[in-house]
């Protein structure tokens, strides 16, 4: 495949064959080596062939092969002539990250971090097949699907001001529960308020370095050593089932002939199938917002119990990593509404956008990019440039480079725990095998990912944080 170098961090697959637009890859030469090794570029090209695609099929610096769309893929489609695809969102709808700040300094927490972690581990259900403590009725679940984090706050989980500091204020208004299958509801009932497994985690972190004082202060970060909490999880089985259900529904309605990859099955956005998927996806997004809202509440409870107070534990922000949204963007000199798919990508809106909470509007939205288990994570700020570069999107994490099985062969969970302990990081997990699979060596270098993001202008570096306690599902 022809790959044209535009500059050090920008590459293009020129339009050819059935591509309707070119594909643009934001990556350094080093990250590109990994990207070229799997089917990421082929998938980006396939996305460029979809009806109604606008501008480019974009690939973020942390991209790797996904299903249909690459992970780290961003594509926008016109509402009237364009499509929506479950493969452009992914199975874990609104897999995302929430960041809480505290007023504690590392020195006040270090001695108690074991206890904190053990208590969080007790309080927040995690791991494969682990159900929640909340027994929901179907009607309450439907309310969660329609109202998201708003429902959680109203029911005593967290604070009203958390909502302003959540993407979409914790609720996508277009959500409808009617299109959610019985099977998805059944999977959703026992799992609300659970972390899950795989790459999902909860970390107690400290600020290591601040790059942008003004933005950091605006986000509530004031100095190195400040303790933070990061929660990474999604819509659990409910979201996975919604994706599975609508891939099947679209296959049955439109057939699969002519698709380069069946995971690219799609429906015109305005068609009944497209609208039903969109509204159901929004409902799954809301479920995930409520999920993270509940977990954040339990974490504050634990801090209050163990350290005496959860004062100052304000939410910095909560971002979606897997979502499709209708947004206003420039296209050919005019502003128009597009359905933007971000699959393994973070919205990165800059200063001034109305979607950015008023308190952050002068610096751009907080962009939270988690690293792999035990490594650094980053806080960035959205940029104005990103709107033109990537429909206001940037990377979402490190991205795997090694298979789970290869990781299992090479690493031992217990050894990783010991190594992390030597570096001052406490680890608790439901499965040592799971820990081995998530070894940081199995992931790309997140430092390089955010460096490219910053240099290209997709997101501006604000702070680097490192874990002091890790809970893995």
């Amino acid at each position: 495949m022809e790959l044209r170098k535009i500059d050090d961090n920008t590459w293009e697959i020129p339009k050819e064959g059935e591509m309707r637009v070119p594909a643009v890859i934001y990556s350094s030469a080093r990250l590109l080596e990994d990207i070229r090794r799997d089917q990421t570029l082929t998938q980006a090209r396939n996305v460029a062939c979809l009806p109604g695609i606008v501008r480019y099929s974009y690939v973020m610096p942390d991209a790797h092969q996904g299903y249909g769309f690459p992970i780290g893929g961003v594509a926008a489609f016109g509402l009237d002539e364009g499509i929506i695809s479950p493969g452009g969102v992914g199975y874990d709808i609104n897999c995302g990250v929430r960041l809480l700040k505290t007023d504690y300094d590392e020195s006040e927490v270090t001695a108690k971090r074991k206890e904190l972690l053990a208590e969080i581990f007790r309080e927040v259900p995690a791991g494969v097949g682990k159900g929640g403590v909340t027994k929901l009725s179907r009607s309450v679940l439907k309310e969660v699907l329609v109202r998201g984090a708003e429902w959680a706050v109203e029911n005593g989980y967290g604070r009203a001001e958390d909502l302003e500091r959540t993407e979409e204020r914790g609720r996508m208004a277009e959500a409808e529960a009617d299109g959610i299958s019985e099977r998805a509801l059944e999977r959703g009932i026992p799992q609300l308020g659970t972390l899950g497994a795989g790459n999902h985690f909860l970390e107690i972190q400290k600020v290591l370095e601040i790059y942008d004082e003004t933005a950091a202060r605006t986000f509530g970060l004031h100095a190195a050593g400040q303790v933070l909490v990061m929660i990474h999880c999604g819509s659990r089985g409910l979201g996975h089932q919604v994706a599975t259900d609508y891939i099947e529904a679209m296959e049955n309605a439109f057939g699969v002939a002519g698709l380069p990859d069946r995971e690219l099955v799609h429906a015109p956005f305005m068609s009944p199938e497209g609208q039903r998927y969109y509204r159901s996806m929004c409902a799954a997004v809301n479920y995930a917002f409520a999920n993270r809202q509940m977990i954040a509440h339990w974490v504050r409870d634990v801090f209050a119990r163990v350290l005496g107070s959860a004062k100052g534990m304000d939410q910095v922000y909560d971002v979606c990593h897997n979502v499709a949204k209708v947004e206003e963007h420039e296209d050919g000199g005019r502003s128009r509404r597009l359905v933007v798919h971000r699959k393994g990508a973070t919205r990165s809106f800059g200063p001034g956008r109305p979607e950015v909470p008023a308190r952050y509007r002068s610096v751009g939205q907080p962009v939270i990019i988690p690293g792999s288990m035990g490594t650094a994570s980053f806080l960035l700020a959205g940029t104005k440039e990103a709107e033109g570069l990537s429909f206001g999107s940037t990377a979402h994490g490190a991205g795997r480079v090694m298979s789970r099985h290869e990781a299992l062969r090479r690493f031992r969970g217990e050894k990783i725990r010991d190594d992390m302990a030597r570096r001052g990081i406490e680890l608790k997990s439901t499965s040592w095998k799971g820990v081995a699979e998530e070894a940081s060596e199995a992931y790309k270098d997140v430092d390089e990912v955010v460096r490219v993001s910053d240099q290209v202008g997709l997101g501006r570096l604000v702070a680097k944080v490192v874990p002091i306690g890790v809970m893995k599902g």
Partner: protein, 199 residues
């Protein structure tokens, strides 16, 4: 179909495929809903893997777990499409728990319909994820899997046997969903199916 190094092999000694047993309704004791099923649905294939290892039968590989960057990928084999589908179910189960250590205390009868073989495989495997997520059901064995043509596609029925998750079991992975990515169904010296699951 791409091969790659074998990471884990599950060997078994399968009974002759031709051995079909029509199981009478007594097999369905205590399952009144199943007693209502047409008897044609109760055609069971002999137990795969129940033969003793001392037997002189040739070893047949049920499945192979393949390397895949982000997720779980496997190939499953069978002399028939049904057998390959059944082994695919065990391959997927092996990514989450050790199905060989799971007893046969609970049964779920499943029936799925699909527009083609690929969708049938995805829906069949999704059924196992669904039962795990909602009933904490651990699959240990697939019985009487049958695939039949329908007016507008195909249908599959099978009896899934296993146990409810307890402290006695160890889980080591979470399969979120079955994907069409690199999904292949090939007939060549029996059947091979290849599946990638999202983990």
């Amino acid at each position: 179909m791409d091969g790659g190094p074998t990471i884990r092999l599950a060997k078994t000694y399968a009974a002759p495929y031709a051995l079909r047993t029509r199981v009478a309704l007594y097999a369905m004791r205590g399952k009144p809903s199943m007693a209502l099923l047409p008897s044609a649905w109760l055609t069971f294939r002999a137990d795969w893997g129940s033969m003793s290892r001392e037997g002189a039968r040739p070893a047949m590989e049920r499945y192979r777990i393949l390397p895949h960057t982000a997720d779980g990928k496997f190939q499953a084999f069978g002399r028939t499409l049904e057998e390959a589908f059944g082994n695919a179910a065990l391959a997927m189960a092996s990514l989450m728990w050790d199905w060989e250590k799971v007893g046969r205390r609970v049964r779920h009868f499943i029936h799925v319909k699909a527009i083609d073989r690929e969708q049938l495989l995805v829906k069949f495997l999704s059924e196992i994820i669904f039962l795990f997520g909602t009933k904490s059901f651990l699959l240990g064995r697939v019985e009487g899997l049958r695939i039949r043509p329908e007016f507008s596609g195909l249908s599959l029925e099978a009896l899934l046997e296993g146990e409810v998750l307890s402290d006695a079991h160890e889980l080591h992975g979470d399969v979120k969903a079955v994907t069409y990515h690199d999904l292949k169904i090939e007939a060549c010296d029996g059947f091979t199916v290849q599946v990638v699951v999202d983990m």
